[in-house]
């Protein structure tokens, strides 16, 4: 606008503002793809069973149920909500209700109701975290315990079995040669990705995670956005639990145990920052793929379960270490 300013421009846009280190930049963007490639290469050499359609379909099927949760968990981490530890309870809720209500209202309504009630758990988390400012770890831990207790009490603390074989067959079946659960996962992932990357809600989520007060002062409904991330995760976990119940045709309260950690692991390995404000669904899914491939290769190589845990632990530590190192260098 003024002469002064344009002069300032030309002055300061010289070498004082060079770009960040190319190498580091590149590494942050492609590191995970390279790692995935390395695992695939290693797997192909170490085991003849690895590079087969059957095995890849296996891996895809195995990661679908957890993958749906990963998509939701990405929102929680990005919005700066640390983690949703109520996932096991929500999964159990989805599984138990979608089986338990089958005889009463039929399979499809049962599934819908199960997912909706899971979403309700998420909105309680959301209200506590988003509107009352309770620490997410505590809120989700507490609500998870309560929800699980209530669901358990509702079915009298026993196991629920499926009553509708057709729905089980559908979920276990294939469409165009691809397992139905995989298709559902892909659909959830694509929707999740577009919401986070292309919709105003996603931009709001990133902004809220990046700087809460500034987002608030920019007319972003921060409380709702923060709460929304927990609702999204809960709905995803509810879908995941429902599918899990349908495939297994039985559901017990502890069915979702460990899923929260697996989901966080995938998201973090994918390079989504636990501090919020940064991350995307494809990244998280890349993290999931990497973890799944690595586990698969270890299993095929006959590595014992404890050692797998060991490797996974080191992987997470490495991933967060890398994240912080890149962050320090101003990339990522």
């Amino acid at each position: 606008m003024s002469e002064i300013a344009s002069e300032l421009d030309s002055e300061s846009s010289n070498e004082r503002f060079a770009r960040g280190s190319r190498l580091v930049d590149l590494l942050s963007k492609t590191g995970l793809s390279l790692a995935i490639l390395a695992v695939i290469l290693y797997g192909s050499f170490s085991s003849p069973a690895f590079f087969t359609t059957g095995n890849f379909l296996n891996i895809l099927t195995s990661m679908s149920i957890i993958g749906i949760v990963v998509v939701g968990m990405t929102f929680v981490l990005v919005v700066g909500g640390l983690a949703d530890l109520s996932v096991p309870a929500t999964i159990a809720c989805g599984a138990i209700l979608s089986l338990g209500l089958q005889p009463v209202i039929g399979p499809v309504p049962a599934f819908v109701v199960a997912v909706a009630l899971s979403g309700l758990i998420g909105s309680v988390n959301g209200v506590l975290v988003g509107y009352l400012g309770v620490n997410p770890i505590i809120a989700t831990l507490g609500i998870g315990t309560i929800a699980l207790g209530i669901v358990q009490a509702a079915v009298g603390g026993v196991i629920v079995y499926g009553a509708n074989p057709e729905s089980a067959e559908f979920v276990k079946g294939r469409l165009f040669g691809i397992p139905v659960v995989v298709l559902i996962f892909l659909a959830v992932a694509v929707i999740g990705h577009f919401i986070l990357a292309r919709s105003f809600w996603g931009r709001w989520t990133l902004a809220t995670g990046g700087n809460y007060s500034a987002a608030e002062a920019s007319a972003v409904p921060v409380k709702a956005v923060k709460a929304g991330a927990f609702v999204i995760t809960a709905v995803a976990a509810g879908i995941s639990g429902g599918l899990l119940g349908l495939t297994l045709q039985s559901a017990r309260p502890l069915i979702g145990q460990g899923y929260e950690f697996s989901a966080i692991t995938a998201v973090v390995v994918g390079g989504v920052s636990i501090m919020g404000g940064f991350g995307s669904v494809p990244r998280a899914i890349a993290g999931l793929i990497f973890v799944q491939l690595l586990t698969n290769v270890m299993v095929l190589d006959g590595v014992r379960t404890p050692i797998q845990g060991f490797v996974l632990g080191i992987l997470i530590a490495g991933a967060v270490g890398m994240d912080s190192a890149l962050r320090k260098r101003g990339v990522a």
Binding site: T52, G54, K172, L254, P306
Partner: protein, 287 residues
């Protein structure tokens, strides 16, 4: 009279019917049950023994999840003159001096029976995979130990390809089975699962991978209804019926006798039956 029942868990395919049977029988006997659930956490169970003692109950029925850990608690109960018995799972020998009796299946024997059944199915040779329960759990240790020891004992030509833990969980069994099938393929000529739910997981994985091929002989334990179905349809070779209802009833009956001042045997087993295609229609499923 009040009896403290420290059970493994509230909701579990096996434990739930056992708990229910025990409770119902206790109602008949006019015994009040103080029901404490460990939720599969040993730590919690050892602490719950404290509650039983503090509450001053008349007897303790403990479902141990570890061979040793409960000993001091049992000793404390003995000091307070509270008689204790074990249900379902055994403990180490040192525990014997603190308990009146152990009622329940012999998990080690179940392993042996499973080994025999699988040997018959495979003509004593070939290679198998073991899908085990939770690592470190007494039942897992017994069932795997009995199986492996038996094969050794009879100098069997059956080779164990791998033993993987699936925590008595159908979903985990499904996942590990997928990997096992990819990894060993045709080499899997037999499967031993520590319980029927995990056997189910393997069957599902097998059907996913080879929809047209029949399953290899699979032996499970517990004798669930759907395992009976699988035996009928030929998907499974055998299961070992171990009735949770019997398990629960026997424990409370034994406790009732103790409370009446009677002497009881230190080892009261519940009957075990191997079920195959032959007798599947004449035996009642466990639950």
């Amino acid at each position: 009279k009040t009896v403290c029942y420290v059970t493994a868990a509230d909701s579990h395919a096996y434990a739930t019917p056992a708990n229910v049977a025990l409770q119902e029988r206790a109602d008949e006997l006019g015994i009040e049950i103080l029901n404490l659930s460990q939720d599969f956490d040993v730590q919690k169970g050892t602490e719950q023994l404290n509650t039983c003692v503090a509450r001053g109950v008349d007897g303790i029925i403990l479902w141990p999840l570890d061979p040793q850990a409960y000993i001091p608690g049992l000793a404390r109960a003995q000091q307070s003159n509270i008689p204790s018995i074990l249900i379902n799972s055994p403990m180490a020998e040192q525990a014997n001096q603190f308990i009146k009796s152990f009622t329940g299946p012999d998990v080690y024997e179940e392993g042996e029976m499973a080994a025999d059944a699988l040997s018959t199915a495979m003509d004593g040779k070939g290679s198998v995979v073991i899908i085990a329960g939770q690592a470190g759990n007494g039942t897992t240790i017994g069932r795997v130990g009995g199986f492996v020891d038996r094969l050794k004992e009879v100098n069997s030509d059956i080779e164990v390809l791998d033993t993987v833990n699936a925590d008595f969980d159908q979903q985990k069994a499904l996942v590990v089975s997928r990997d096992l099938i990819t990894r060993f393929g045709d080499k899997i000529m037999g499967v031993y699962a520590n319980d029927d739910t995990m056997a189910r997981g393997f069957i599902d994985a097998w059907k996913e991978a080879n929809p047209s091929e029949p399953t290899p002989p699979i032996v499970g334990i517990n004798g669930q209804k759907d395992a009976f179905e699988s035996i009928r349809s030929g998907e499974m070779y055998a299961t070992i019926v171990q009735s949770p209802v019997e398990d629960g009833k026997l424990a409370i009956n034994t406790m009732a006798e103790i409370l009446d001042g009677k002497e009881v045997d230190s080892r009261l087993p519940i009957p075990l039956t191997v079920v195959t295609m032959e007798n599947v229609n004449s035996v009642e499923p466990a639950f």
